[in-house]
Every structure is written in C-alpha cells, then in structure tokens.
Amino acid sequence: MHAPAFGPLLWVAIAAAMAMAAPRARAQERPVVCGGGTSATAMPFSEAAPRTSACAEPAPTRVRWADVGLSLAVLALGGGGIAYVRANERRRRERELPATRIDVVPYATGAALGVLVTVSLAVFAQPLGISGGVQNLAGSVGLAITPDNRYWGHAIPVGATWSAWVVVGVLAGALAAAVSAGSFSLRAVPEGEWVPWRRWAAAFVAATIIELGAAIAGGCTSGLALSGGVVLAPGAFVFMAAMFAAGVPTAFWLDRPAADRVRLDGRRGA
C-alpha cells in the first residue's frame, strides 16, 4: 500500500459524510438505550449521575443547526485534508523522493481489534477490557482478607466474571502468538541494558498506579479508551487526552540527556 491511497480514502469519507448528513439518514437512527448493562467495568459509583436526562431524548424532526455546523466542519476538514495530501504528493514527485512503503501490520492488527471490540459490544454487550477483570479477580483476594468490604460484591462482582475470563484469554492468546512466531522465551527484563531489581521495583510501582488509575477512571486503555471511544463516549476521549498529557512529559523526562547513569525506571543510561 502506497501513501497516495489515503487521498481516495478521504474522498470516500467526505462522500459518506454528505450522504449521512441527509435528514433521511438521521430519521432512521434509533434511540440508544442507555446504561452500563451488566458490564463489570462499568463505573459502579455513577448512580449519582442523572441517567435519564441523557437518554430520554425525543427524535428530532426539524433542522438541527449543530448538525449543519458539524457537516461544514466535516467538509472543511476533508477538503483541507485532500488539499494537504495532494500538495504533499506533488512536492514528493517533484523532488523524486521514493514512494513510501507502509508497514501495514499496526493498521491491520488495529483494524482486527476494531472488529473484535465491535463484536464484543454489539453481540455480547460487554466492553473489551482488562482492568475490570483484574478487579473482579482481586476482589476474591480482598474479600478473603476483609469479608465486610463494601466495594467487592456490592459495587462490582467478584470471581470468575466475563471480564476475568477475557484476561485469561489474553494471556493464552499472547502465549500462542509468541510460541507460533518462535519468539517465546522467559526473560527477566526488556530489551536493552537494565538493572533487574530496579526494573522489577519500577514495574511493580507502575502496575499498581496503572490499576489504581484504571479503577478510578472506570477502565483502562482497552476497557475505557477503546470500548468507550468506539461508542463515542466523551469520557474515553478525556481519558486519552489525560493519558498523553501525563505520559508524554514523563517519557521525555525519564529519557532526558542529563539523566542519571541508572534511571528511575531501572534502565542503564549511556
């Protein structure tokens, strides 16, 4: 696949936008029933939220100016995108630069994940998440230590829930993929120069913060950002923005030129 293929794709997107902006298409749209369903990753503390106000919205019958404005934005962005792509491609031809070879693996695997999350949500009404299943499994441990806890068993289910089995499946799937590719091997640290005990300590602290953050937000990269993003939940996009707003400075700070010889995350510097 060469880069110019993006141009026609943009045209398709614009054509779809114009077709879908037609009032007929809107009238067919069904009202979406709200509620987190039986999902284990749904935020258990959201009872305070006004659930009904966002759901009981009557079907629109007249021109909605928000739609018109958004249609214009779609067309402007699409037109701008096409102009950008064409100008870029022309410049590339003039300079006789070699055509870009695209590594399609990230896109192909990502698209397959998109199909997977569609099936998970549409057929099974379950978000495709990890952190929720971890919470269900941890709940069994937590209840064994503190049986009178008001969170496990009340706000979220515990034990071998749907999400917990997804976690087991992910482990098995990655194992199968690694074995079939011949890349499976027991390794104590990632690629590169590491101080093992420091990497392990950093990994433990980081994983603790990650699960804590995921539990506060109500899902992790897959359960909230992806499973929420595909249904256009605003929380998913707020979550992703916050994730990068905090992650980008962290990554650059850890990798700063003046870093110690052994960094905070256990990697050996130059």
Binding site: M20, A111, L116, S131, L175, G228, V248
Partner: protein, 207 residues
Amino acid sequence: MSVALPLALGFLFGWLLERAGLTRRDRVVGAFRFTDLAMLKFLGAALVVGAVGLQALRSLGFVAALPVVPTNLAADAIGGALLGMAMAAAGFCPGTIVAGAGTGRLDYLIPGGLGLLAGALIFGWTAPSFMPALARAGALGPATIPRLFGVSGWLVVVLLTEVALIAGYAAERHAGRRRGASRAHVPAAGARSPSRPVAPTAARSRS
C-alpha cells in the same frame, strides 16, 4: 455464563497485542516519545473501524442497545493521568501486562501482575471513602458525544475518521521523508529538515 466466549475474545485480543508488538516495552514508551507510532496507529485503526462498524450496525437496526461507559469527567481525567504517567514510565498498560506475561516476560508476570493486584486491592479498600465524591464531579452518565451535543452520530464518526486518516497520512509521510533523507543519492532530500515535528501533532490529534 459461558466461559468459551470471553476466552475466545480474549485469546484473539492477546494474539493481536503480541502481533502488533505492543508487548515490547520500547514500543509503548516510543508512542509517548513519538519515536514509534505503531501503538497510535493500532489504537487509531481500532477506534475508527469499531466506531464505523458500530454506527453502521446501529443505523441498519441490527443493534438497539450498546453498553456505554459512563463519563465522569474528573475521575476520567485523574485516572487517565495516573495511568498515562505510569504507562509511559514502565512501557505497559493492563492489557499488555497480561499479554506480555504470556510471551514469557517475567517482569510483566511477577511485579506487573502483583502490582495490578495491589492496585486493585488498594482501590477496593479505599474507594468507598473517596470515589462517590470524585465520581459526582463532572458526571455525565452514559453519555455519548452525539447525544450530548445533539448531532448526528455519523457526522462525529466521519469526523473521527477524517482526523485519523489525515494523522495517519502525516505520520507515514513523515516516516517516508526520514527514510528518504537517510539515502545519500536522493537529491534534495537534505533540503528539508528530517526532524520536522509532524509526528507529535499527528499523534495528539488521534488521542
């Protein structure tokens, strides 16, 4: 509850995470330094395909109800910031900890797995004291952007697709230019700075 279905979904998910290379620490950290955009391409492609697919299923009447994650703006922002910070430092997220453990990475399996357990335990023990108040701040319930702003879902989906396509194009162009600049015989390749910061904007607009 059937066990086979979630197991199969998880199996495919884990397979894809490993195939996309997201069980490698460098790849996840690279996404936050914009040196390796594979994770952003992976997430962006999944978001677009899933959003278009679900919107199509809804429009065609195949799906009446979808589980929508409730939005709690304050909790989402705080949780996302905590997760993003730790993810950029360690190079994994909950999904890739589990997948990485499956590929034989002991630092994912043992400290990573114990950390997940510890985090979930700490949350379970402390949540009743702070979570109700935090979840009330900016709580929108199971909202979606189209319902929140009263716009057509298709327009939002197409807008998302356009942003992703343009970002993807910019990312591939940038990569091509960098490769082109490294070849000495290509004329005029040095005329353009190879480190033009295209990737950060591309990556940010995706998220």
